[in-house]
């Protein structure tokens, strides 16, 4: 099993969610985060005080996925989150050791 973490532009969230649903991924966890890579921040001005804000708002999408679906899930996120401009984000893939469904106690692939 794998855990996919995707950092995407916030307005892409709905498209990414739908694309993941379409390939069979049932559940995701979403967090609001801040970050930067190559995308430039902006300057804010409050009277005489100037602030250079490097951090940009992003959304982190996490999904636990069975091995057969991983390739298609990555491809789904990639194509739905892409705008072609700097700041589109990244996808990280982690090995997932164990998954438990709290309600039933199921583990492993059945819990996904």
């Amino acid at each position: 099993m794998k855990l996919i973490t995707a950092i995407i532009k916030p307005f892409k969230l709905d498209e990414v969610r739908e694309a993941l649903s379409a390939v069979g991924v049932q559940g995701v966890t979403v967090t609001e985060v801040k970050g930067f890579g190559r995308q430039k921040g902006h300057t804010e001005l409050y009277r005489g005080a100037e602030y250079v804000v490097d951090f940009l708002p992003k959304v982190k999408v996490e999904a636990a996925i069975s091995d057969e679906l991983v390739e298609r899930a990555i491809e789904a996120v990639e194509s739905s989150a892409r705008t072609g401009k700097i700041g589109d984000g990244k996808i990280f893939v982690y090995d997932l050791e164990q998954v438990v469904r709290i309600r039933t106690g199921e583990t492993g692939k059945e819990a996904l």
């Binding site: 804010e44 001005l45 409050y46 009277r47 005489g48 005080a49 602030y51 804000v53």
Partner: protein, 505 residues
């Protein structure tokens, strides 16, 4: 040490609470000794003067329209402190300090109101005696004694700017109370995010007593127009007035008394406090410019009471003061924002809100003292001037006047006070200065002469408040310490000093 101070403060409060009704009641039984009666009865001349015949006529009663307007204005000025100023300042600080700002404003407002009723009004707006009288009043109106006589149902009168046109004195007491209170609240903007709550209460009480009261007396106290019965008597009348008032300084609603007074005091407080931890390195942008905009808008709304209410009557002068206030503010919004747009590249909401406040500050001494042309010039000029005050000048001064009390209120107040001297001239559309013997507006001494009077008044107030603020903050420092501990400043004053969080999201 702190326990003893708290114990002493509680004891004083309890004593005052017990004493106040007793003293007020005792004074209410005595016949009211009002300003009007004192001035209208100097020994020999009154008997010969023509108003001996008038003395037989019934005393003039307050005009219902005037009273209604003044009560309304008072409520408007209250609104300027709570919630307007509280929100304006509150939105500019970090979220962890929001409640501390709201609390300081709310408490200072209430505290000054009480002190005003106890001794403030008396020391500011009675004549005073001997060599002190140009600087401060007396104790005739301690606990507001004499303003209402239960036995007769009589309300003592206060003067307006027209003869035989009194207000009930209590209306004037209330109106001026809101001025004293907001002046003290303005100072708080310089010291936010790092000053101890107890230090605020102590320093403001002292500053109110040794700076606000004398300055208000010097600029605004006069015996009223009814005593100006002839040229011979006029000089005696002028001699009874506060020092700067007697010189002919023009300050309609408080350019010196409120804005320069508080602006300089705030800067002194900021100097003694030191700068906030992390200033210049850590980001500390305003946590809610939405709140700041609401505050600025309510300030604009309430300021109509502040300026147009200072006409003391519901008449043409009030309308002029109203329109000047409205127009100058709008001009200042535009001039600040356009200047900012050109220099910094973007027009900002904070710039617009600050421009509005700067315009309101500058038109304060001018409201009933200039005409429409003056309002245009003052409003358009103060935008860029105060923009410099909060940027270039602030860098030069290099102190952490956190919310720019000096840059907006002192700089704007000085700008307005000086331009008032110029644009009062009838040749520049102004109403001129009234000769209270003839009631004709022909007493303006000329532009340069009036400008010099304004400059002297500005200089004296500047020095007086600087010294007073130094004393007030130093005493607070010695008693309780001015500044919070570093960990408390990092965590935020709301939780550490008030046990509350503003936003439980």
């Amino acid at each position: 040490m702190r326990k003893w101070i708290l114990a002493a403060a509680s004891a004083v409060t309890l004593a005052l609470s017990a004493l106040a009704p007793v003293v007020s009641l005792a004074q209410a039984q005595a016949p009211a000794a009002t300003e009007q009666k004192k001035d209208a009865a100097p020994a020999a001349e009154a008997a010969k003067a023509p108003e001996a015949a008038a003395a037989a006529a019934p005393a003039p009663t307050p005009n219902k329209g005037d009273v209604a307007w003044m009560l309304t204005s008072t409520a408007l000025v209250l609104c300027m402190s709570v919630p307007a100023l509280a929100l304006f300042y509150g939105g500019l600080v970090r979220a962890k300090n929001m409640l501390s700002v709201l609390m300081q404003v709310f408490m200072v407002f209430s505290l000054i109101t009480v002190l005003w009723a106890v001794y403030g009004y008396s020391l500011a707006f009675t004549e005073g005696s001997g060599w002190l009288s140009p600087f401060v009043g007396g104790l005739d109106r301690l606990f507001l004694g004499g303003t209402f006589t239960p036995a007769t149902g009589e309300f003592s009168p206060a003067s307006t700017f027209s003869k035989a046109t009194p207000l009930p004195e209590l209306v004037y007491v209330a109106f001026q109370a809101t001025f004293a209170a907001i002046t003290c609240c303005l100072i708080l903007g310089a010291t936010v995010e790092r000053i101890k709550f107890s230090a605020v209460l102590i320093a403001i009480t002292i500053w109110f007593t040794i700076s606000y009261l004398p300055v208000a007396h010097m600029v605004w106290y006069w015996p009223g127009p009814d005593g100006y019965t002839s040229d011979k008597v006029a000089d005696a009348m002028v001699a009874k007035a506060g020092l700067l008032n007697g010189w002919g300084a023009l300050d309609y609603a408080g350019g010196t008394v409120v804005h320069i007074n508080s602006g300089v005091a705030g800067l002194v407080g900021a100097m003694l406090l030191g700068k906030r931890i992390g200033l210049g390195r850590e980001p500390m942008p305003p946590h809610s410019l939405t709140m700041t905009m609401i505050g600025a808008s309510l300030l604009w709304f309430g300021w109509f009471g502040f300026n147009a209410g200072s006409a003391l009557e519901a008449n043409g002068m009030a309308s002029l003061a109203f329109m000047n206030t409205y127009l100058a503010t709008a001009c200042a919004v535009l001039s600040w924002v356009f200047a900012e747009w050109m220099i910094k590249g973007k027009p900002s909401m904070l710039g617009a809100a600050s421009g509005a406040v700067a315009g309101l500050v500058a038109i304060t001494p001018a409201a009933g003292n200039v005409g429409i042309p003056g309002a245009f010039v003052i409003g358009l000029a103060v935008g860029p001037i105060c923009l410099w005050g909060v940027t270039g000048l602030k860098k030069l001064i290099a102190k952490d006047d956190a919310l720019d009390v000096f840059g907006v209120h002192a700089v704007g107040g000085i700008t307005g006070a000086l331009l008032t001297g110029i644009f009062n001239a009838q040749s520049l559309g102004g109403p001129g200065v009234t000769n209270y013997v003839t009631m004709k507006p022909d007493a303006y001494p000329g532009i340069l002469a009036q400008l010099w009077i304004q400059a002297k008044a500005v200089g004296i107030v500047f020095a007086w408040t600087a010294i007073s603020a130094f004393i007030a903050f130093k005493i607070a420092d010695l008693l309780v310490g001015l500044r919070v501990a570093e960990e408390e400043e990092r965590e935020g004053l709301d939780t550490t000093y008030h046990g509350e969080t503003a936003y439980n999201l």
